[in-house]
Symmetry: C2
Subunit: 242 residues, 2 copies
Amino acid sequence: MPNPTAAMLVIGDEILSGRTQDTNSNHLAVKLTEIGIGLREVRVVDDEPSDIISAVNALRARFEYVFTSGGIGPTHDDITADCIAEAFGVGISVRDDARVILATNFKNPEVELNEARLRMARIPDGADLIDNPVSKAPGFRLENVHVLAGVPAVFKAMVESVLPTLTGGEPLLSITVRIEAPEGEIAARLGELAKADPKLSFGSYPFIKNGVFGSNIVVRGTDKVKLKQAEHELSRLVEDLM
Amino acid sequence: MPNPTAAMLVIGDEILSGRTQDTNSNHLAVKLTEIGIGLREVRVVDDEPSDIISAVNALRARFEYVFTSGGIGPTHDDITADCIAEAFGVGISVRDDARVILATNFKNPEVELNEARLRMARIPDGADLIDNPVSKAPGFRLENVHVLAGVPAVFKAMVESVLPTLTGGEPLLSITVRIEAPEGEIAARLGELAKADPKLSFGSYPFIKNGVFGSNIVVRGTDKVKLKQAEHELSRLVEDLM
């Protein structure tokens, strides 16, 4: 059985304006790879309801798991929960369990749990809450869509809350061999190696460092023995270059 | 007239596996924002022809400019040029002008310009070449799609080659006010400010630093005077918090 697949939807004009470098999708990618779930697409969209809704619907139909980050805070530009409800065609309202979680965050909930903060207790009908040990306000899961916060520390904590609930696959192992020669020198033999074993995936990721052209060859697969063989073949390729 | 829009397509399983943090889209975002082009979507897809082709066709239909990064080197996993040709329904072959550029990179082109490297001279029919001052192998533009390299140093150089050919819009200006209070404290007044002037966009980007919850309020717009007013209103909001 092939490994489960996943997509990530990053919601936030701060990423698209260049103000902020998204790091959440890289964090999620690492975590999913570890448990054998293949992240197959990342999308970053603006804080535009129609863009968010159509992206959610496109991704949840194509992938086993979808994760979103951003837009679930208390301000006017936090529209993710409403968009998710609309994408699924369900209602959304302040929910008691979410309200209780938020209330316990404040000494004086009557005053401090104001209208803006209550927005964070608005959860689409039928969703399960996702624990947020950092700043209380919960995320939620509706079917295969996991809605997480955008602040990296909170996003990471929510990912930890979610990971045990996911069904992983065979962990994808990899070996890396660094080659200090231009890709053009090794491309032919690398192509032969890749062709010889279709169960392994050979990637060549070129770099330029201190004026030297080189490439990291990464081989991925689930079979340790085959990976070891590939590593050996690549070492021979490196020796032949010298 | 509204500003031109753009999308970025990052091609590469090394991003999706978490091995590499994509920084090219952030670089492009900053550069486009400066010249008044709005980056509206970023997609990261796997090295899968069908995924690349459908993403290219979806994005080039929706946005004025599309930029891709990755997959134009000499190895077997460099399939971007072929995918672009297929997306446009045009042919692809080794082109003389690209071949000459590559040949000048080598002391002994007869030997060094091997079959793998010649792959980098394969350009879809009807495309213009994009200059690559770092490692010679050119990118290309077909209609509104700009195909650039994935190695950050080369990507950046190619962006510089492309920028003068783009038609920008009104530069989007922004002011930022840092507020050291939880978003829930300021959400109501911030919402009122946002409502009062629909020509300005108010974003609230929360952070947690050394245990302190705060938010950067970013106001964007093209009118300097209005932005100055908004900055003044936000300073008053900060004073009232103290």
